[in-house]
Symmetry: C2
Subunit: 396 residues, 2 copies
């Protein structure tokens, strides 16, 4: 099957579109990335999304309209990625769309119940592209009393797990998070948690010290010297030593945190600060592995994805810290660090269409395994004689 | 198949749940109402819905949470209607849920694009009831450039149309609206429009003059005398004579309108005013038929649904006005006036599951016929050995 996975994160970096060829399902899934691109979100829509996310700025008319506008934008991404790959869009079997999260209530509080809200109308994507769309993956896990996140552990399980081999899938986005696939190859033994900062602190320092958004290829860090006093102080932060399950965010390792560190160590060269923060991210990862994974599990391989996979200094530091373990980036095994999440949703969509469960209760906290996603049929399913497919109630 | 259709209108009168047996699809659909009930919406949720509908009171956290709360309420309605009918919920094949409309933008205006927003999370209904859910029917028609409404004409077409017989399906809710099914029995010839006030003006007068919410069985009107001067004035209102397509609402025939009329005709007895407003509703219907349907079509039968079908005086007036035409209420043909809309959505859900188009472009303005609705699978489809059914990609 030919599918497009769409992902648009809360950072609003853009709409990731991964065109994939996919065969089989569950543990027999074979997925091959055909084309990938991140499409920019126009500024006026970006500002509407930001408004829609705020309790005191959002309103029903904005959300109603933005749901359809984002549907159009997601449809554009599907059309563009097919054009880029020179593939006729009518050959597409389905689109799997994560949507744009505009609110998430992880647990009941006051009058608000546990819930999540992703928008980007699937009907608009289906109508514009003439393709079946699977969307809204998080809501069913929440209906099943889970937190609706993380959802990638299932795809990591089916794509990366190997019986007898403990594998850590490390993502280094703004935050660092890991999914551990145990050697038992049993889905119920999977666990996942946030290791600490990913690129967030490094990016902030680059912005404050050098006026650039991030340390491309880790070049700045490569010229600096790690300062042990600063590193020791950073490693003593409570979160790093807390027992999983645990999650962190911008409030812990964002702008304010970095400003404080820079002002305290203003005697250091900028390069040294960036190098130390890079080592800090590397060490939070290795420290968490050594404390919470390795003692009870066989860990043979680490595969890194996310923007951090491109930071060569960071990867070198992690390799040094985990010297007995095989540390790879997605590209080393023929995958893509940037496309990983969009591919994950294509895989999740495939599971939906095969009536398979695809949440990992040990990762989300759900009471049970459930089928994720909602299916919007290709609106013109009967008008194209050569690709008539559709829903079938197949009672047995 | 056994299904529950759910409808919750903007009047917030309650959640209509129709348990139906349904066979076939399209023009071969046979539907049999097993049980019906309207379930109250708790006051605190009613007030949240009202807030969620207002541009200046709504917010993203409220909408996110309310979507899940309404999902729970809709799930309760499904469970309760099955209990009432003594039917094991695991026998249910699907639920079709209209959802609660909280916003509708019929055409682009300023920064807002044409769109519609119904909430009441389908995943929650599916999880709680263990049943497949079809929901969100209006969005695809809007994606296809329609107005997303009215959607009942399709179900009226498949349930009531007869080749060679022109049939008018008149609904008398707050507003009166008609779907005309032409003798050609061709879906493209169907048209629909609002005839004028339904019960709205009568209800308002009952409230102001007698402190009661409506004229039960038309008893008050039956004791009054129609005042011709007042009736002539009402019938001269521009809307009544306007050419379809046309729509009207509370702003034209609501509280303010009735207050003005009552104060102008304060010399009349309360019963006479109610009788005259009842005749006014009857005459707006017959006048529109005589002006816009009968000249170009064979009209043999009128079937009335909605609360107005229970107003015996109103029905008598309509029969007198349309004396050569067979005027019936839903109950006369073994159907239910109150359950009609909830049944309609059960029928639309059945069409979705049969991959059939179910909008009527001549009624909604859509550019083409499309498959409506989004499918949420029963989350535990594989856990119940005796009723394994699911999605199948059936390419040909």
């Amino acid at each position: 099957m030919l599918a497009v996975g769409l992902m648009s994160g809360t950072s609003l970096d853009g709409i990731d579109a991964a065109l994939v060829e996919i065969k089989g399902c569950g543990l027999n899934t074979e997925v091959n990335l055909v084309e990938f691109e991140t499409y920019k979100i126009p500024d006026e829509i970006k500002s509407e999304i930001k408004r829609a996310c705020l309790e005191d700025k959002s309103s029903v008319d904005l959300i109603c309209s933005l749901n359809f506008k984002l549907g159009e934008l997601f449809a554009d991404a599907v059309i563009n990625i097919c054009n880029k790959a020179n593939i006729d869009i009518s050959k597409l079997d389905y689109v799997a769309s994560h949507g744009q999260t505009i609110y998430h209530i992880p647990r009941n509080k006051c009058d608000l119940v546990k819930s999540t809200l992703q928008i980007g109308e699937a009907s608009v994507i289906a109508y514009r592209t003439g393709t079946l769309v699977v969307s809204n993956f998080r809501v069913m896990d929440m209906a099943a009393h889970g937190e609706g996140a993380p959802l990638v552990p299932y795809t990591e399980y089916i794509l990366y797990s190997e019986k007898g081999k403990g594998v850590a899938l490390q993502n280094i986005g703004g935050i660092g998070n890991v999914t551990f696939l145990p050697a038992s190859n049993c889905i119920d033994d999977i666990f996942a948690f946030d290791t600490g900062p990913g690129n967030m602190a490094i990016d902030e320092a680059c912005n404050i010290l050098f006026g650039i958004p991030y340390d491309k290829d880790g070049e700045i860090a490569s010229k600096g010297i790690v300062n042990n006093e600063m590193l020791d102080e950073l490693m003593s932060i409570k979160y790093i030593n807390e027992k999983p399950p645990k999650t962190t965010g911008r409030e812990d390792f964002g702008q304010r945190f970095v400003e404080k560190i820079i002002s305290k160590y203003s005697n250091l060269k900028g390069e040294d600060i960036v190098a130390t923060l890079t080592m800090f991210t590397a060490k939070t990862i290795s420290h968490n592995y050594k404390k919470f994974i390795i003692p009870n599990n066989k860990l043979e391989r680490v595969i890194i994805a996310g923007g951090g996979a491109h930071n060569k200094t960071l990867i070198r530091f992690i390799k040094e810290e985990l010297e007995d373990i095989d540390v790879l980036i997605q590209e080393d095994i023929g995958f893509s660090s940037d496309a990983k999440e969009a591919i994950a949703f294509a895989v999740l969509g495939n599971e939906t269409l095969n009536n398979n469960f695809s949440n990992v209760p040990s990762a989300t906290g759900a009471k049970e395994k459930v089928i994720l996603g909602q299916i919007t049929m290709s609106p013109r399913v009967f008008m194209e004689g050569d690709r008539k497919y559709g829903f079938k109630m197949c009672k047995e």
